[in-house]
Amino acid sequence: MARYAMVIDTTKCVGCMDCVVACKTENNVPEGFNRDWIAYETIGKFPILHMEIRSERCNHCDNPPCVYTCPTGASHISEIGGIVLVDYDKCIGCKACIAACPYDARFIHPDGYATKCTFCEHRVVEGLDPACVATCPTHCMYFGDLEDPNSEVSKLLQSRKYHVLQPETGTKPQIFYLI
């Protein structure tokens, strides 16, 4: 079975928010909310500075606390490449998943259910990259199957240094940041 993951090259990312906008139109994300966002981390003192820029979203964890805390089974791991999804019909909007997610990746849609990044599952099943990956003008984002050793994501993780967000939480996140 496939294991979908995203690899993001922080050395190329310019933090332009194109990924955020593309997600918003692709998925009709309501005004006032976004499913992905940009994080800047600056260390040092002017003018000797280092800045990491990251496009962040749901980490589609292998060990997802949101799924474990969901009382209705709405939050689940999809058969499609291990994508973490929400079945909106089952969701009661209790926000347990929001509290459990260490990445603050979820929000309650104005229609009352929890929602977040889906890795653009609807595109992925059609053989397309997620909207954020497909639009990025810096080509800093890669999407693919980690089970396939010849996929671009697998190769990048073999050849480049990377980190994940909050590994100490044990969530086994599937978004990898190249440094």
Binding site: D9, T11, K12, V14, G15, C16, M17, D18, V20, V21, A22, K24, T25, E26, E31, G32, F33, N34, T42, G44, K45, F46, P47, L49, H50, M51, I53, E126, G127, L128, A131, A134, T135, C136, P137, T138, H139, C140
Partner: protein, 734 residues
């Protein structure tokens, strides 16, 4: 009546486009089939067009689902976007759905500046506008009418106004933006930099950005190439008082003191010559005035420049040595918005000279020679003689101002003073003059002197709210427009055609221009009834298929040599010496220094900081702050303050303050951003915020307007650009 005919025709045209919507070329058959299947399933149609959320004009594909605009993507056939739009491009959807956009023609019923309007019909608004313009022309002559126009949509309006006898055309793109760069390069090379810039970042081994914040200014192709350069490990040098996004990607970051860039450039020239690093063959064969330059540059050592710029002499040497090491595949980027200090041509001349010493003109990895699709013009009748001097540059006070884009502030001051002759009407298309020009108080003073102000725009921005008549244009996704024939690496032509119809009583710019012409009795200047006749004529005259063009959105021409490496011959026929003029004979002739001069900028008064401004990647000027999608990204600007300064002044991150400038102008409240990413002697703001039009409900009083704080501007004596980085601000608490 005519409106209805046009509408019906429009619908016919769009349905034809829907039926013909094609799957775009893709190497992946599976993906194509999947998209085709999805389209069939979801009733999605795709229509190619080109973007207008900035001036870059990227090819796009509009996705319409169940008759409604869903999303935009880049057109993979388009050489500018290469299938990827920037955030603003993707966010263009928000322009279409903007609830605050202008919906119907408005005619003022109270005095200017008050928000009181009659919603009227197109016929009435156009008839009234034509009547007013004819009265003014009758009384004061056609010279008393000035047109401000920005963007490709203005082409037709300018055509109408030229036919009316108008000659005073201006755009902020010259005197508030690119002017000094184009003038400096034309003086030196006899050629412009142009837009898109002819910089070959894609193939460069080393380049320097001076204040040019790629990644924050999202000039799509350049940003894509910038990322490629990062990936290839190109040596990037960034010179900026602010640790920009680009600086964070650079191997060398030079945290220069604002206003001293020319000192750095002179030192770079000094090192290139003193250390014999320049391209001797190029200098010998293709340049004029090397010996005077060699003499002139001697005192401008890196040690001298250190005292001015604060950049260590070793770093100055190392960076220019890097540029020289990779020559000719290295360059200093000329930038884009370069009206900074009012002596900008001299600075950009220094940029042009560094490049000349690197021998990089028309060389791979530096500057390519742009090529353009040859599309014949439409055969219009000749315009009437306009036998008068342009108003904005009396007696050619600024000898190199040119007449292509004019001097906006020249029109403004003529409107205020009535000299050299009175200006009684402004016709403003697609440019919010209150924010694009420095010192809005002066713009408002000029507006108050006008007999008539006509504004054509898409949102109720500040300039629209000062107008006598406001004509609501359809946005770029809803209209046909002029062709995109940009100079680039490969010749191409792009179409703008409606993706969706306008939601209210908005009209296309070409229609407005044509109807106005009819009302002005100038119908003979429009032999075509509908713009598609015009477009079809031009495209077919170039031997291209109009049907194919509509279907693909872009047609590419044949590749041509764009580098010396491809066999291009180096020649400089457009300078007086027919060589690259290191020493500018033209400047000397007009009494300016023929070699680039450095002027030390004034220090901020105690307690004040130099005000710098720039771009945020999700907005274009002051044009996009009513766009709900883009406002969800960034909805106000902040004032960037160095952390140490903030500590001393006890300014907290996120607190609101007011800024007061040297002339006592007080800004709207603005959030403080405490950061290490800026020098202590300056502050920085994103441009375009602090809207004061109440009808921009999402943007009203969000953030502060830099334009308002730029009450001082220094005019470049060579070309008349307004240097806008010479203002100082201090913090005021509530």
């Amino acid at each position: 009546m005519e409106t209805k005919v046009t509408r019906r025709k429009f619908l016919q045209i769009t349905s034809a486009t829907f039926a013909g919507a094609a799957i775009l070329a893709s190497s992946n058959r599976v993906v194509e089939n999947a998209i085709a299947a999805a389209e069939k399933k979801n009733g999605v149609v795709k229509i190619p067009s080109y973007c207008s959320i900035c001036f870059w004009k990227c090819g796009l594909i509009g996705y319409v689902k169940d008759g409604k605009l869903w999303k935009l993507e880049g057109n993979p056939l388009d050489p500018l976007s290469k299938g990827r739009l920037c955030p603003r491009g993707n966010g263009g959807v928000g322009q279409h759905y903007d609830p605050d956009r202008l919906k119907a023609p408005l005619v003022r019923i109270s005095s200017r500046g008050e928000d009181s309007w009659n919603v009227t019909t197109w016929d009435e608004a156009l008839s009234y506008s034509a009547k007013r313009l004819m009265e003014i022309k009758e009384k004061y002559g056609p010279q008393s009418i000035a047109v401000f126009s920005h963007g490709p949509g203005g082409v037709f309006l300018k055509h109408t106004m030229r036919a009316f006898g108008v000659k005073n055309f201006t755009a902020p793109s010259f005197a508030q933006c690119r002017g000094p760069r184009e003038v400096a390069f034309e003086l030196t090379y006899g050629e412009l930099v142009g837009s898109p810039e002819r910089t070959d970042i894609k193939n460069s081994k080393c380049f320097a950005l001076i204040g040019s914040h790629l990644g924050e200014n999202m000039h799509n192709t350049q940003v894509q190439e910038f990322a490629e350069a990062i990936e290839r490990g190109a040596t990037i040098i960034v010179v900026d008082p602010r640790f920009s996004i680009a600086a964070s990607k650079a191997k060398y970051y030079l945290p220069i003191k604002p206003g001293t860039d020319t000192a750095l450039l002179l030192a770079w020239i000094n090192v290139l010559i003193q250390e014999n690093l320049y391209d001797k063959e190029f200098v010998e064969n293709y340049t004029f005035g090397f010996e005077p330059l060699r003499e002139y540059i001697k005192p401008f050592t890196p040690e001298w420049a250190f005292a001015e710029t604060g950049i260590q002499p070793d770093l100055i040497r190392e960076t220019i040595r890097e540029l020289a090491r990779y020559k000719p595949a290295s360059f200093v980027h000329p930038g884009r918005h370069v009206n900074w200090y009012g002596n900008d041509v001299q600075r950009l001349r220094a940029v042009a000279i560094v490049n000349a010493l690197l021998g990089n003109w028309n060389r791979k990895g530096a500057f390519y020679k742009p090529v353009k699709m040859d599309i014949p013009k439409y055969p219009y009748p000749p315009y009437p003689e306009a036998d008068y001097e342009v108003v904005y540059n009396p007696n050619s006070k600024y000898p190199f101002a040119g007449e292509d884009e004019g001097l906006t502030q020249g029109v403004r001051s003529a409107t205020i003073t009535g000299e050299p002759y009175p200006i009684k009407a402004w016709v403003v298309y697609g440019t919010n003059l209150i924010q694009t020009m420095p010192n809005p108080a002066e713009t408002i003073e000029a507006i108050k002197k006008l007999d008539f102000l006509l504004v054509i725009d898409v949102i109720p921005n500040e300039i629209a709210m000062w107008a006598d008549v406001v004509l609501p244009e359809s946005i770029y996704l809803e209209r046909f427009d002029e062709l995109n024939i940009s100079p680039f690496r490969i010749p191409f032509v792009g179409i703008r055609q409606p993706v969706v119809p306008p939601p209210h009583d908005q009209k296309d710019g070409w229609w407005i221009a044509r109807e106005l012409a009819v009302k002005l009795g100038l119908e003979k200047y429009y032999p075509w009834m509908h713009i598609e006749e015009y477009l079809k004529y031009r495209v077919e005259a170039a031997g291209l298929s109009y049907e194919q063009f509509k279907k693909d959105g872009v047609i590419l021409g044949n590749e041509q040599p764009i580098y010396v490496e491809d066999g291009l011959k180096l020649e400089f026929p457009f300078t007086p010496s027919q060589k690259v003029e290191l020493y500018s004979t033209q400047l000397a002739e007009k009494g300016f220094s023929p070699l680039p001069t450095y002027e030390r900028p004034p220090e901020p008064p105690p307690g004040y900081f130099r005000l710098l401004f720039g771009r945020v990647p999700v907005h274009t000027f002051s044009m996009t702050q009513s766009n709900r999608i883009l406002m969800d990204m960034v909805d106000e600007n902040e004032v960037w303050v160095n952390s140490d300064v903030a500590e001393t002044l006890v300014l907290k991150n996120g607190e609101y303050v007011y800024l007061k400038n040297q002339d006592g102008i007080l800004s709207n409240k603005v959030k403080v951003r405490v950061t290490q990413r800026i020098r202590p002697d300056c502050v920085f703001m994103y441009h375009g915020f602090g809207h004061t039009s109440k009808n921009l409900k999402r943007a009203y009083l969000k953030g502060a307007s830099d334009s308002e704080l730029i009450s001082r501007y220094d005019i470049d004596p060579i070309m008349g650009g307004t240097g806008m980085n010479n203002n100082f601000v201090t913090f005021v608490r509530e």
